[in-house]
């Protein structure tokens, strides 16, 4: 049995064992709040076990830059700074874990310190034509609103401060993996 999440998914309810081994390949789109994991319970005739699985989101990441600007969490962006921006308010200080590619040997852990990219945005301007409220895509489809909206030029779902961007070995806009937690 899988922990339900706001996005809802159709997940396998039973596993057929073959010589004691069973395999499932679930796709998890969302999680609850800023939880790092979804849990699942495995029940058999003789035992019940609860396990947790980290939920990662694969989105386009961009380099934030903007040294000297005021972030939504109150800081002033420093050269070679370390943080990320996610497109929803109320996440200041929440930990995130990033990887440049699946299986990358060195994850980067930092915190949310800004709001963006693209959303929320109150009004279309020449700087950002997107209009909409917070987009906590990790609680819905797992796909950032900007990814399917022509208002965004790159479809990014996370903005990464320069130092963190560099720690990930990135040199330009590209796909990254992230999840909540340390």
């Amino acid at each position: 049995m899988w922990e339900g999440a706001p996005g809802g998914e159709t997940l396998p309810g039973t596993v057929t064992l073959n010589q004691g081994v069973g395999t499932v390949n679930p796709t998890l789109n969302a999680l609850n709040g800023t939880n790092q994991t979804r849990y699942y319970i495995v029940s058999s005739t003789f035992a019940t076990d609860t396990n947790r699985i980290n939920v990662w989101f694969q989105v386009v990441g961009t380099q934030e830059g903007l040294v000297g600007s005021t972030t939504a969490c109150g800081g002033t962006i420093q050269p070679n700074d370390h943080f990320v921006a996610l497109p929803a308010t109320g996440l200041c200080g929440v930990s995130v874990n990033l990887r440049a590619t699946a299986g990358a040997p060195a994850p980067v852990v930092t915190t949310v310190q800004d709001v963006g990219p693209w959303f929320p945005h109150s009004s279309a301007t020449s700087g950002n034509p997107c209009v909409g409220g917070s987009n906590p895509y990790w609680n819905t489809t797992g796909v950032p609103q900007a990814a399917g909206n022509p208002c965004s030029s790159n479809g990014a779902g996370i903005d990464i401060a320069d130092g963190t961007f560099s720690d990930l070995g990135l040199t330009g806009t590209g796909t990254i993996l992230w999840r909540f937690g340390q």
Partner: protein
Amino acid sequence: MRDFLSRRYIGGQPLAGRIAGLLCAILIAICSAKLYGADDVQAEALRHLPLDAVLARLPGLPSRGLVPSESVAYETPAGLLFVYKRAGALFLRQISQRSKPAPDVPLLGGFVARMDPMANGIIVRTIGRGNVHQVIVMTSDGASAGSYLNAFEDASGPLVDATRGGPIGGSSFRLDCVPEAGCRVVAYGKWTDITNCWVRTYDWTGVALIETDTDAARYTLSRTEELANTSKSSDPMPVFLRAADTSVAVAKYLDQHLPLAAIQLCKDVLQLLNDPSRSIKRTAATPESFQDEQFTEDLRRGTAIIHNLLGKSYEASGSPIQADTEFRLAAELDPLSFRK
């Protein structure tokens, strides 16, 4: 200021509301005076704050009752200006000693931002010529999501929007002021993403800030040079940050048909990458035992990126042989990223 503080503004509320408001205002004034006796402007803003609102502080700072010193309130010759937040929305309020209270002005965004780390949240200065002061308030939904520059015609009178059709959008802004000629507003896109590296300029027509894009090419070149200077700074910096900044600067030089400047930048950056003391190892993400190996790898990949940029620059300058040499060097250093 003391003269202004001695005068009490009471809005056109019903009598009971006025009395309640007055009592609360007195209470808040007493509290704020106790806490902030030296900060008259902030205390005065607190005194005139709507009862269900908070001062729209710069984010991350304490809320009502602990007014920060970053000047979300501003005293003008005509009275007091401050931004407050009610039910998540921002409003600009003017408390005037000369005229009757004007309606509060709604502002876009979620917080008051600064144009630069040293600037106040509210800027009152002459944008056009003469002695008339305009009001500029920069608000934002988030540095990453973008900011708004709100401008109002005349600080000494009722607040009239001077941007004609909504605030100016951008990732950052600058006031370029020339004595006797006034100031120009320069809005910048996000200069980490080549698709958003734009500059727009807004000039004062006498009553409004209008997009003219006058001298936009000059500001674009200036911004490109700033980025190039960051890229070739001799201060140690992460390899990939230097490479990313160089990539944008080279692309912008080539956009502006300045391949020679791009070539020189690449050469300068290659020299820096040849000296490991000018680069910073990745530490946050890397186990110590792996750091030296990764640093060597990063320098190799970073150097490949710059050789590839140098190749593009030579190509744009009409030097295909030199371009091929650079593309080949990039491919030798990082065959996965660059093909021969």
